[in-house]
């Protein structure tokens, strides 16, 4: 039979039509969907013996006790530890997501050495021995040239044995450049030193307060020890405690407060001093516990008349008087500060003014009051002996200028690190060690920070994760994550008692990582001489056990050590530190008519840890949509710029320009724009990277004239249709 074109087409079309009319295609589609559902790519989690192991979470400074559910050797769930003095069973969203960090693909799995260009992401895996050799040869070489001071270390904390070991290493090595990342702790320590004349921190007996006046502190947005704050918030509701939130934006804390007082951004100190002036002028103060009241009083009354304060702050005069009366009438009123989560140091003037309110209410070192808590002192190591090279290095000024000259009152100035490296410092930096910090994302003015990092010839990252800073590093020496390691976790975070938690390995190390304490001890031993002598411990665990002494048994047994009986550093408050001028936002009012302020959300990790996938999943579609970030503005502000909900806009500040979407929010002062902090990552993985905008690209540091700490609360900005 001859197949011509016609019969061929008839056959094909007829066949197709016939098949389509038969049940076959439908059956096949149905079957294939059923078959593919049966394919084994949906995991079946293996069963096993269930045990709970307790530890301490150190993802934020909160210090919560956790209880980890394990099935055989797998950790499957993190829960809050019942009966723990900090969180008593509660847990926050970040703590709950911890296993995504432990098992996540953003872990750095082995020590690595850079082989490509910086930031290119080309690495060669090396052994720990090789890593130690690379590090110690580099450091020894620099030290032998008499340049030990050109090595700096930046860490998230300076309390606890691990940061202390790193600090000790720097001292024995001969560098004055140990830097702690910036936070409200800086201003708090300085305010306690200024007001009480001694070293310590402020602790707040929030649970027993009966009136709470918060100057922007994100009481339920992650301030202090977050879970403790949530619990306190519920307690206040039950006891009908008045909570006043002073803030330009209706944050969650403002929404939960009994009263929200919108204020012009950056004028919180003026309001605090204005309230103080009302208290003083109406004779509603308790001056028993304060000194220097006479001279301070006359300055206060002349500088902060209610009308003037009302004009500065945008808070009506009768509201100011009302707040003062409420504060004075309460038995145990507490004033708090530290914007949002307290991630920026803030100014001494503001912190001192707010703490002074507590002093004027006579609410110092008593139940329901503010306590001057001494620093924990359980680390009692003999002073590290320094050889000639080390002593010479230690005599050099710090790269960030802290502790000398006009910065004499500060201990660390990470906000000045970039400028120091970029040529303003006394010498070029040769090596930077980064531990538990992510300065390339978290420091203000990211562009400047990246430029500074590009100038540092050798960067060592101890980070457990592929963050922005490890992407810039030359050597990666990954630390265990908190669920794999022993560590003491001293808790400050505004607690009115002393608490030390113990982190212990819940699972064995998942990858070829090493405890930072071990890495430091190993490096010191390899370098020999006085450096090795400063580290007499064979390993970190011995160091920890010896350091904790009698507390060790308690910690091993209960996981936490608590001292409720606080011996305050001082009882009298000297009224000082409030004369400096107000911190102004950078930028020209005419060119940049708006004020951009960052805001903190408990669902967006603002610190070193990047948001795990679970947390990002809870972020609203008015904060991130696809890859786009949003800026929140009042509808009035938006319509003035011809913008409406969801519009793409250009947001520019003196430091940078980004494209963002508009989210209209009635709960924000007209003229103010707000943007979530903690987004806009470039590193990590597809679940986090490139989502939203890093607000640090837009905001630069503003130095507090009293200390040099970063006191930037925002920046001037402009919005235009994109």
């Amino acid at each position: 039979m001859k197949v011509d074109r016609r019969s061929f087409l008839s056959f094909v079309i007829g066949g197709a039509a016939g098949t389509a009319l038969s049940p076959l295609p439908w059956k096949l589609i149905d079957d294939s969907s059923i078959w593919s559902q049966m394919w084994p790519w949906t995991p079946v989690p293996p069963d096993g013996e269930v045990v709970y192991e307790d530890s301490t979470c150190s993802l934020c400074p909160g210090g919560c006790g956790i209880s980890v559910r394990k099935v055989d050797n797998r950790a499957v769930k993190i829960e809050g530890k019942k009966g723990h003095p900090v969180n008593d069973g509660g847990i926050c969203i970040l703590g709950l997501s911890g296993l995504q960090l432990l098992y996540g693909p953003t872990r750095i799995k082995t020590p690595m050495k850079r082989i490509g260009e910086r930031g290119e992401g080309k690495w060669r895996k090396i052994s720990w021995d090789e890593a130690t050799v690379i590090l110690t040869e580099k450091l020894t070489d620099i030290r032998n040239r008499g340049e030990a001071h050109t090595v700096a270390a930046i860490a998230e904390s300076d309390s606890g044995t691990v940061p202390a070991l790193l600090q000790r290493f720097m001292t024995a090595y001969g560098s004055p450049n140990f830097i702690r990342t910036s936070s409200q702790v800086d201003a708090d320590e300085l305010a306690v030193k200024t007001l009480f004349g001694a070293t310590g921190r402020a602790g707040f007996d929030l649970e027993n307060a009966d009136y709470v006046l918060s100057f922007g502190a994100g009481l339920v947005d992650g301030w202090g020890s977050p879970v403790r704050m949530f619990r306190a918030g519920s307690l206040w509701k039950e006891k009908n405690v008045a909570v006043v939130q002073v803030e330009p934006r209706l944050s969650n804390s403002a929404a939960k407060a009994t009263r929200w007082v919108p204020i012009n951004p950056g004028t919180e100190a003026d309001l605090a001093l204005g309230i103080a002036a009302v208290l003083v002028s109406q004779n509603m103060v308790d001056t028993g516990g304060v000194s220097g009241f006479g001279s301070w009083k006359s300055d206060l009354l002349s500088n902060y008349p209610t009308q003037k304060v009302s004009q500065t702050t945008g808070v009506a005069a009768d509201v100011i008087v009302d707040l003062a009366k409420g504060f004075a009438k309460a038995d145990r009123p507490l004033a708090l500060c530290g914007r949002g989560k307290g991630l920026v140091a803030g100014s001494l003037r503001e912190t001192a003014a707010v703490y002074a309110l507590n002093a004027l209410a006579g609410n110092i070192n008593r139940t329901g009051g503010m306590w001057a808590v001494p620093e924990s002192d359980y680390i009692q190591w003999p002073k590290a002996a320094t050889d000639k090279l080390a002593s010479a290095g230690l005599r050099q000024p710090r790269i960030d200028g802290a502790g000398a000259g006009r910065y004499a009152d500060s201990r660390y100035l990470p906000n000045r690190l970039a400028d120091g490296v970029n040529g303003e410092g006394p010498y070029p930096l040769q090596v930077l060690l980064v531990a538990g910090a992510n300065p390339c994302h978290d420091l203000p003015d990211s562009k400047n920070v990246r430029a500074a990092f590009a100038r540092i010839p050798f960067i060592v990252s101890f980070s457990s994760f592929n963050d922005e800073t490890s992407a810039m590093a030359d050597l990666l020496l990954p630390d265990h994550v908190y669920l794999e390691r022993y560590e003491d976790v001293p808790v400050g975070a505004g607690l009115a008692r002393q608490v030390i938690g113990l982190s212990r390995p819940v699972v064995s190390a998942q990858f070829n990582t090493r405890h930072l304490g071990e890495t430091v001890i190993a490096a010191a031993r390899a370098m020999g001489g006085s450096i090795a002598d400063a580290f007499p411990w064979p390993d970190y665990e011995t160091c920890l056990e010896e350091t904790l002494g009698e507390k060790w048994d308690t910690l091993m047994e209960t996981g936490v050590w608590v001292e409720n009986d606080i011996d305050p550093v001082a009882d009298t408050v000297r009224l000082a530190g409030m004369d400096a001028p107000a911190i102004q936002a950078e930028g020209d009012v005419d060119r940049f008519p708006l004020l951009l302020v960052p805001y903190d959300s408990i669902r967006i990790s603002g610190g070193t840890i990047g948001d795990p996938p679970f947390m990002i999943k809870t972020v609203a579609d008015t904060v991130i949509k696809g890859k786009d970030g949003f800026v929140e503005v009042n509808p009035q502000t938006a319509s003035a710029a011809g913008l409406t909900e969801g519009d793409m806009a250009t947001l520019s500040t003196p430091r940078g320009e980004v494209r963002v979407r508009i989210h209209l929010f009635e709960g924000i002062k007209p003229g103010v724009a707000a943007m979530a902090r903690g987004l806009g990552h470039t590193a990590y993985d597809g679940y986090l990277a490139e989502k939203g905008v890093n607000v640090n690209e837009l905001i630069g540091p503003v130095e507090d004239p009293s200390s040099g700490h970063d006191a930037a609360w925002g920046i001037r900005a402009k919005l235009a249709k994109a």
Binding site: S36, Q37, W41, T42, P43, V44, P45, P46, D47, G48, R69, V71, R74, A75, V76, K77, E79, G80, N87, G90, I91, C92, I93, L96, S97, Q100, Y103, G104, P105, V220, P226, V227, F230, R231, G233, S234, N252, A255, K256, W260, P262, Q510, I602, P613, F614, M615, K617, T618, V619, A620, D621, I624, N634, E666, G667, I668, K669, P670, G686, Y687
Partner: protein, 275 residues
């Protein structure tokens, strides 16, 4: 006397969520995700397809600055009883993949029975049900944290909050081993209740006067289980879905946001329920 087999009285597990305490922190959402092996994708910003058994909604009073107020409302499955177990979703499921338990009052979801017609999603007035448009994929290594108590779902099925039913089963087994006739209140708590750092969620048996949730809600069986607590309300209460999740708020606008009231209707007013 005729011997009668003794049964436990039926339980009715339910929740009271105090919106005055809820801070919108989202811990309940993540507690649920990690307890129930809920998958996630690179982009979760399309909330129509983002699976979150517990979802926290943000309500506003609609007033302009500075009178604006916001309130967060966590929304698990409401475990509607309807009338005699006639929940909206159960009544439409052609596969009996979802059912109302007369023993516990929990609306179940059996993934292996579900064939993905999604009628239940259309029927649910609370958007509490989610469809798996894709197979779940965990990034390499992360499947290690999956819990064996809850099976991961495959593409093509509907899932929703189960009031952590696996926890009930475990608690029941434990009670049996301890020779207890009933599951103690503390022994069975959902993951969200346990995690909530503000203590805003109270969970228990609404039928048991000894349970805290009963004491808070004080349901009135003559009025379709409407709460006797003046702060309490349920979502879309007037639909007659008879949900077992109660909300508490001292703010009238929040209670009013729980239903579609006509301008002249009073908040909490139940006009004639039609069956």
């Amino acid at each position: 006397m005729k011997h009668e087999q003794q049964h436990n009285p039926p339980m009715k597990y339910g929740m009271a969520i105090d919106l005055d305490k809820c801070t919108g922190c989202g811990a309940c959402m993540v507690a649920c995700m990690s307890e129930n092996n809920i998958p996630f994708r690179e982009d979760e910003s399309d909330k129509l397809v983002s699976i979150s058994w517990m979802s926290v909604f943000k309500l506003t009073n609609g007033k302009a600055f500075p009178d604006t107020e916001i309130c967060y409302l966590p929304r698990p499955c409401q475990h509607c009883e309807g009338h005699g177990g006639h929940s909206p979703c159960v009544s439409v499921c052609p596969a009996t993949a979802t059912d109302y338990s007369a023993e516990t009052g929990i609306v179940s979801q059996i993934y292996t029975r579900c064939f993905g017609c999604r009628y239940c999603m259309g029927a649910c007035p609370y958007h509490a049900r989610y469809f798996n448009w894709w197979d779940p994929v965990w990034p390499e290594g992360m499947e290690k944290y999956l819990s064996p108590n809850v099976s991961p779902r495959m593409r093509g099925v509907v899932e929703k909050c189960s009031f952590c039913f696996h926890r009930y089963q475990l608690a029941k087994n434990k009670a049996y081993l301890n020779d207890e006739r009933t599951v103690p209140e503390a022994a069975y708590q959902t993951a969200c209740t346990q995690a909530c750092p503000a203590g805003a969620i109270v969970f228990g048996d609404l039928n048991n006067p000894a349970h805290q949730v009963h004491q808070i809600v004080k349901p009135d069986p003559r009025k379709g289980n409407k709460s006797r607590n003046p702060r309490a309300f349920r979502l879309l209460e007037r639909l007659g879905t008879n949900p077992k999740v109660y909300y508490l708020s001292s703010r009238e606008w929040v209670r009013r946001a729980g239903d579609n009231y006509l301008a002249h209707e009073k908040t909490g007013q139940v006009s004639n329920v039609h069956h």
